[in-house]
Amino acid sequence: MDATALLAPLAALVLAPLFLGIINRTKAFFAGRHGQPLFQLYFDLQKLLGKGATYSRTSTWIVRGGPIIGLAALMVVVLLVPLGGLSGLVRFPGDLLLFAYLLSMARFFTVLAALDVGSSFEGMGASREVFFSTLTEPTLMLSLAVLAHQSHSLSLSSALGAVTVTSWLQHGTSLVLVFVALLVVCLAENARIPIDDPNTHLELTMIHEVMVLDHGGPDLAFILYGSALKLWIFASLVVGLVLPVRTGVAFLDLGSMLLGMGLLAIVLGCIESTMARLRLLRVPNLLVGATTLATLALVLAVR
């Protein structure tokens, strides 16, 4: 194992909060505000880690353990995920399954922690979260199947590493469909507009944010850092797919990928500034639509 294998996970662990900062600055630019500092999330994390904690009297160890289990699962996932041509630290045939199921595991415990405090707001968020994620699960798996089909490999690193300019020229249509499907999955899994609004202040309409209402202090810091990691993980899949720069020189690859990540953050900021959140009843249509696109991509690929 060479040192370049450490680049992808290190970039994720260090830069994930910055990704959110770029999105927020883009949104502020659209709104004509100056906006929060780029590194705001780092400051928030530092502040939260320095605080005490307040728990609901209803709650048990689940509410205390949920953020920890979630963050631990996401950190293992970070080791599996490649950044474009830079392979992940751990790669083996079938790691894309571990990837998908560790994400479900993190979600499982977030949902349980939400139910632990017995608030109907959090129950509402939990119910929506499991419903929407059930609909994104097949999309993710089918999109990964397309990549596995083209690369003859069941490992995320090899599957994304095999996406080159040639493969875009040959299977462009199917890759575009996978890109759209993965983008929708990325938005849905990370509670972004148009599925969920991270900035809303009305508990009734929220999904992810409402689930963590009763967390505070270090627990909230774990959760915030975990969601930043999760966003980075999905974003690096999307960027790895659309940016087929595979020079083989680690620092060129890293530089182009980081640039790509920055661009994606700006694109996400633009999406969030120019779109309204969908009505909750409409969200399933969007998610099932993404599944259809992924299925179509697969049909085109295996044709």
Partner: protein, 621 residues
């Protein structure tokens, strides 16, 4: 009598040897043999039956029957022995005898609390369903036995007169499928399993339905090389059974009924694995065959472990609170912390989450299905494999939703109904069996590679591939499984590290307790909590076409409504729309035969004479 089950199981409890021994029982060629396949199915039977028996000792102590439990334990032992004989039998007649004993004894166990009308109804449904299934098996064995001139399994020919082997396969599928309980033959399962005492539900759901899977595998190995459509059919049935089973489970409010529907789902996953395996055999794709069969069979073992764990812990909840209604429970994590922890392990395992055993078997099935994707196989293998991949992903999502609901509503929050007893932790006799099951789920999940040699032997014993072929393929999965172990250990140590970090951070800082945040409303009551029905509402609304949930009660009326209530009920759509009309139609048709029933002996004698004459002319022809 009470001590007997444990003694019996202990005698039998040794690890089965993977050797074959045949002997004759006086009066015929009744033979039994223990080969790798039988041995594999016997391990969970020995383990779970013993544990469930210990659990039952305490569980039934407060039963209103008091000391008259002799009949119950007698049936329990007979059920256990008959399951073992079913697995060991090498002769059609012995097999059917044991099969019938198994059906009858489990009927007696289901109707243990026969003073309750719903238990009686469940018992009858079960009895009818199991006998209809056996009827198909009878025909199957008659065909095979007639052609061979003997009912010994190893003499059964792959082809018989009048019926192609596909026909035999369909007979086996319906006959064994009724026992295994996949859609559409599952209707008895959500009735019978909740009605039985919890440790019997664990045995039935974890073990007895697996004898259906065993029978199917055994017969398929006797029928020679499989056709391609067998595998395609099994994958189709498996995926639809998995999705529909878990959807029905989501809509249930009865904890044990919910678990029973999850058996339908998991049998679907097993069937998907077996279907992929058959497909691999018929198309000569060794990777698909090996991984499909290995995953499907491993899921048999895993499901036996976590499903019985879930039924036992659900039984502990029902035992302590006197109810299985999700919406009357809540907050039990504080009163029953150990049970809560065991249920959580079972719930995570059945949802296929790493690092537990459910993930391992699904991982193998996925690997098998994906092997056709990376190898760019022909569409006839690729299509079903991709359906399996998408289906498994969807099932996984649904299962996680269903078990966050079940666990969250029962154990978390505040008690939802003030009239429900507070609950208490059960005694050691109930807790230790649950603990052993939970531990085995964790151990298999963290160290899965240790099971591969066993899976190799089992799969090689009934597929026609040589063991070398298999070991090449399964050797390739050793490395991923070892990395999975490492990932599991890394995950656990990371979590442990964060626990320490959090404790460090919070030392000497204020840690307070207050009410749950309710938008500034400081007087939350338990009635405001989300319920099982409200949690599942998005699913129920979206999939109404399958579920047909009925809403009872209505919206509040007027500006100052006094009272309003709403409850939902989801009956089984197959029972309502398929079997009920079918059987009512048959009953109606049979009414026409009443014309023959005259109530006069002379007329009946005439019937006998006519029948004799008809038979005589037929044989003389």
């Amino acid at each position: 009598m009470l001590g007997l089950p444990s003694a019996v199981s202990k005698v039998l409890g040794g690890t089965p040897e993977l050797a074959s021994m045949v002997w004759s029982i006086p009066g015929g060629t009744l033979s039994v043999a223990l080969d790798a396949l039988s041995g594999f199915f016997l391990v969970p039977i020995y383990l779970v039956c013993t544990l469930a028996a210990f659990y039952g000792l305490e569980y039934l102590r407060s039963s209103p029957r008091g000391n008259s439990l002799g009949v119950f334990w007698c049936s329990y032992n007979l059920l256990m022995v008959s399951m073992i004989v079913v697995i060991l039998a090498k002769n059609g007649i012995l097999f059917l005898l044991a099969w019938e004993t198994m059906a009858l004894t489990s009927f007696f166990l289901v109707t243990f609390e026969n003073e309750r009308p719903e238990v009686q109804a469940a018992g009858w449904i079960y009895l009818v369903a199991t006998h209809l299934g056996t009827a198909f098996l009878l025909v199957l064995f008659l065909f095979l036995g007639e052609a061979a001139g003997s009912y010994d399994f190893d003499r059964f020919p792959p082809v018989v007169q009048f019926l192609p082997s596909g026909g035999l396969f369909l007979l086996a599928l319906v006959g064994f499928g009724t026992k295994a309980g996949f859609v559409p033959f599952h209707v008895w399962l959500p009735e019978a399993h909740p009605a039985a005492p919890s440790h019997v539900s664990a045995v039935m759901s974890g073990l007895m339905i697996k004898t259906g899977i065993y029978g199917l595998v055994r017969i398929v190995t006797l029928l020679g090389p499989p056709s391609t459509w067998w595998g395609v059919l099994l994958v189709g049935l498996g995926v639809s059974s998995g999705i529909l089973g878990v959807l029905f489970a989501l809509a249930q409010h009865d904890l044990k009924r919910l678990l029973a529907y999850h058996s339908v789902e998991n049998i679907g996953i097993i069937l998907t694995g077996l279907g992929l395996g058959l497909l691999g055999l018929s198309l000569h794709l060794p990777a698909l065959a090996a991984l499909g069969f290995a995953g499907g069979l491993l899921h048999v073992l895993n499901h036996a472990l976590f499903k019985s764990l879930l039924f036992l812990s659900a039984g502990a909840v029902a035992h302590a609170t006197g109810t299985r209604e999700l919406d009357q429970l809540g907050g039990l994590a504080k009163r029953m912390p150990v049970t809560c922890f065991f249920f959580l392990i079972g719930a995570a395992a059945i949802s296929g989450l790493p690092p537990l055993n459910g993930f391992i078997s699904e991982f193998l099935i996925y690997l098998g299905a994906f092997s056709t994707v990376t190898a760019h196989s022909a569409l006839v293998a690729l299509g079903p494999a991709l359906v399996a991949v998408a289906g498994l992903a969807l099932i996984g999502g649904f299962a996680a939703a269903c078990f966050t609901k079940a666990f969250g509503i029962v154990f978390l929050g505040e008690p939802r109904d003030p009239h429900t007893p507070e609950g208490h932790e059960p005694g050691a006799l109930m807790l230790v069996p649950m603990g052993i099951l939970a531990l085995s789920c964790v151990v298999i999940g963290i160290f899965p590679a240790g099971l591969l040699p066993a899976m190799e032997t089992v799969v090689a014993s009934f597929t026609l591939q040589t063991k070398d072929d298999l070991s090449v393929i399964l050797q390739e999965t050793v490395e991923p499984l070892l990395i999975l172990s490492l990932a599991a250990l890394l995950f656990l140590s990371l979590a442990g590290g964060f626990v320490v970090l959090r404790r460090r951070l919070l030392r000497r800082r204020p840690v307070e307790e207050t009410v749950t945040w309710d938008c500034g409303y400081a007087q939350p009551t338990p009635r405001m909590q989300y319920t099982a029905s409200s949690f599942a509402q998005p699913f129920v609304a979206r999939f109404a076409i399958f579920l047909r949930t009925r809403h009872l009660g209505g919206l509040p009326k007027g500006f100052f409504p006094r009272m309003a209530s709403l409850s939902t009920k989801t009956p089984d759509v197959f029972r309502q729309s398929l079997y009920a009309p079918l059987f009512l139609g048959i009953e109606k048709g049979l009414h026409y035969l009443q014309v023959l029933q005259r109530g006069r002996v002379q007329v009946y004698v005439l019937y006998i004479v006519l029948a004799l004459v008809a038979l005589l002319t037929w044989t003389r022809k």
